[in-house]
């Protein structure tokens, strides 16, 4: 029987990790992801899994790195300001090519910003830190999807030996929704024979995994391998959803929690006779660039809805290649100009109407 529960978006990710057989969680409290670390502290020890509260995000991401080195499924979670702290560690993980999952429950920035929701980490998550590496970025838009994408994240991480970022936001994390708890089935994965467990496990041949591909070994080989991996992911893992897109004149592009407001606005517009549709990227990297580009053949009006001053809009601009008009509903269009203000469907509807 499928269990149904009323849980927060943060807890849904926690349940996702449990259902994905994640055994090691390392974290540090920060609003608005606290429900997740608290959930893990409650549930993981009871299941005989490992929970560690680190002293900083530097430490938690490096603990994830260490645990991933040994071949276990490891994850951490954080929010914007501390996601910045993790960048060095994430870059290290990229150089070691380790599979793990990092959850970023976005809050306002820059600096300490606000403790409330926002979508201001898009560029950081998709463009990454120093070194020009790439990572898969998954963006859920409901608690149910947060639960499912967490399971997918672990699968993709192991499939490609890459770290996956789950880009949630404060709004999504703190609201409660009914979630059907069901384990997802995935195709079989390659074994982790590279994992470090002491050389006795490898017939006394040492395993040496290091974070300096440009000092030790061949830099060229590393770059070639990475490039091939990224190309393969771009080819196979692009995910998005469309709603009422076939006959739409105006296409809303939105991800995460704002996609919910955008969707409501889209249905309201349809009721008023405006042909609007919604395009929702699920993978922010690889970005569904071709799918958007294809739409520009007959759709010339795009409205990007995101709770920041314009980040995903850059990817949409690249995708439409100048063949369409793009407008933005951003954090300037919040109902209140404060941390707790948010983008409501009313404002999105107004913008849709301004196109006509």
């Amino acid at each position: 029987m499928v269990e149904k529960a009323l849980i927060s978006g943060n807890e849904a990710i926690g349940y996702g990790a449990i259902y994905a057989d994640c055994t090691h969680y390392f974290g540090y409290p920060i609003t608005p992801q606290n429900e997740l670390i608290e959930f893990m502290a409650r549930e993981f020890p009871e299941l005989g899994r490992t929970f560690v509260q680190a002293e900083s995000e530097f430490a938690s991401i490096n603990m994830v790195c260490g645990a991933a080195l040994t071949g276990v499924r490891a994850m951490t979670s954080t929010a914007s300001t501390a996601f910045s702290l993790m960048q060095e560690g994430i870059s290290g993980i990229a150089s070691m090519e380790l599979p793990c999952v990092i959850v970023d429950v976005q809050r306002g920035g820059p600096g300490a910003g606000s403790t409330q929701h926002s979508q201001m980490d898009y560029l950081l998550a998709t463009r990454c830190a120093h070194g020009g590496y790439k990572n898969i970025v998954l963006a859920p838009f409901s608690a149910q999807e947060g639960f499912e994408l967490t399971q997918l994240a672990f699968y993709l991480a192991d499939k490609y030996r890459i770290h996956v970022i789950l880009l949630s936001d404060g709004l999504l994390g703190q609201m409660y929704e009914s979630v059907e708890l069901k384990k997802l089935e995935f195709p079989p994965l390659p074994g982790k024979d590279w994992a470090m467990k002491g050389c006795a496990a490898h017939n006394y041949e040492r395993t040496f995994i290091h974070n300096a591909p440009g000092i030790i070994g061949s830099y060229y080989d590393f770059m070639k391998r990475s490039k091939e991996k990224y190309e393969r992911i771009k080819e196979e893992e692009v995910r998005y959803e469309t709603y009422e897109i076939e006959d739409a004149d105006i296409v809303l592009v939105s991800y995460g929690s704002t996609a919910r407001a955008a969707m409501e606005a889209m249905y309201r517009a349809r009721k008023e006779g405006i042909k609007a549709g919604l395009f929702r990227p699920i993978t922010l990297w690889p970005f569904p660039r071709e799918a958007i580009n294809k739409m520009t053949e007959d759709k010339k009006n795009f409205l990007v809805v995101e709770d920041c001053m314009g980040q995903m809009i850059e990817d949409v601009e690249l995708a439409v290649e100048g063949n369409a008009v793009i407008n933005l509903v951003g954090s300037m269009d919040r109902n209140l100009p404060t941390g707790s203000g948010m983008i409501l469907s009313k404002k999105v509807l107004e913008k849709i109407k301004s196109f006509g």
């Binding site: 490096n62 050389c199 040496f208």
Partner: protein, 301 residues
């Protein structure tokens, strides 16, 4: 001595490492020669001192006279003695200190970002359910500057890890800048007129600091200048590993070592300088050796 000062100084560790990698054929020749000799006299000779079994036959990428090589070998010998090569995982920090282990060890090895070795070690220890013997190799900058928080918090968490701290009073890899352990008055490239307490602060005594922390089971400071010190150091490293094996607590050993390029001296002079000045600032000895980490007070839940 044909080796001039300039030659010693210009041989930065990374450069030597690169040279060795380029001249792999030279190394290979030596390797085959060494093996042949071993095979012939296998049963007829007993090794008194030399290469530990858990080290491959490879050249050291370190500078001439750098005592990090000696310390690395002590670690190798201890691992041999304890018979833990199959389950040992080393975590090298950023700096010269882990380079010989990196190029020669037969046990598993990884590298951590600057200062994060204890955190990475924690992940490995937990990832292997505490079965692996995990130790970190860290230098002044890695441990005493950027990674101080990571080290202290690892002990606060009660991790069962071992840390070997290579204290050479300066930054070697980056070319001889001031470290937190640099002595007052010592000249480095970032303290050209000597470290002044007014602007550069004071040397940090990590072994004493570690002894004050509840999660630490063993803390000592050693050196490798003489054969007597060598033996004491080996005993200390062994005890630090044993504390981890027995699941007692954190094992920590600070080892003083000479860095000739940092001091711009010949190796033998550098060693003399160290004996004179380092021992005055950093007293050798055991600062903590306990068989259980005691809980002082517990709140009722």
């Amino acid at each position: 001595m044909r080796c001039t000062n300039e030659e010693v100084i210009s041989a930065s560790p990374l450069r030597v490492f690169c040279i060795l990698l380029l001249e792999e054929d030279v190394l290979q020749r030596e390797v085959s020669k060494g093996r042949k000799m071993e095979d012939n006299n296998k049963d007829l000779r007993r090794l008194i001192s030399g290469r530990p079994k858990c080290f491959m036959i490879a050249g050291s990428p370190l500078c001439a006279g750098c005592q990090h090589g000696t310390i690395s070998r002590i670690i190798g010998e201890v691992i041999d003695d304890l018979g833990i090569v199959g389950k040992t995982i080393a975590v090298g920090g950023v700096g010269c200190h882990s380079m010989l282990v990196m190029s020669a060890s037969k046990f598993d090895l990884t590298t951590a970002l600057h200062g994060r070795a204890p955190a990475l070690g924690t992940g490995i220890k937990r990832g292997t359910d505490g079965k692996a013997i995990v130790f970190t190799l860290q230098g002044d900058g890695d441990l005493a500057a950027i990674g101080m928080g990571d080290l202290i918090n690892a002990t606060v968490r009660g991790e069962k890890l071992t840390t070997i701290f290579f204290n050479n009073a300066g930054y070697g890899t980056t070319g001889g800048q001031m470290a937190p352990t640099t002595l007052i008055g010592q000249t480095t490239t970032t303290t050209p007129s000597g470290r002044s307490p007014d602007t550069g602060g004071f040397p940090i005594h990590v072994a004493e600091l570690m002894a004050g922390l509840a999660g630490v089971a063993y803390s000592a400071r050693c050196a490798v200048n003489t054969i007597a010190q060598y033996k004491r150091t080996k005993k200390a490293v062994r005890t630090a590993f044993q504390k981890q094996i027995d699941n007692i607590g954190y094992g920590f050993v600070e080892i003083l070592s000479a860095c000739p390029p940092l001091l711009k001296m010949r190796p033998t002079d550098a060693r003399k300088w160290f004996e004179k000045h380092m021992f005055a600032e950093y007293p050798l000895g055991e600062f903590k050796n306990v068989d259980e980490t005691k809980i002082q007070y517990q709140v009722e839940t």
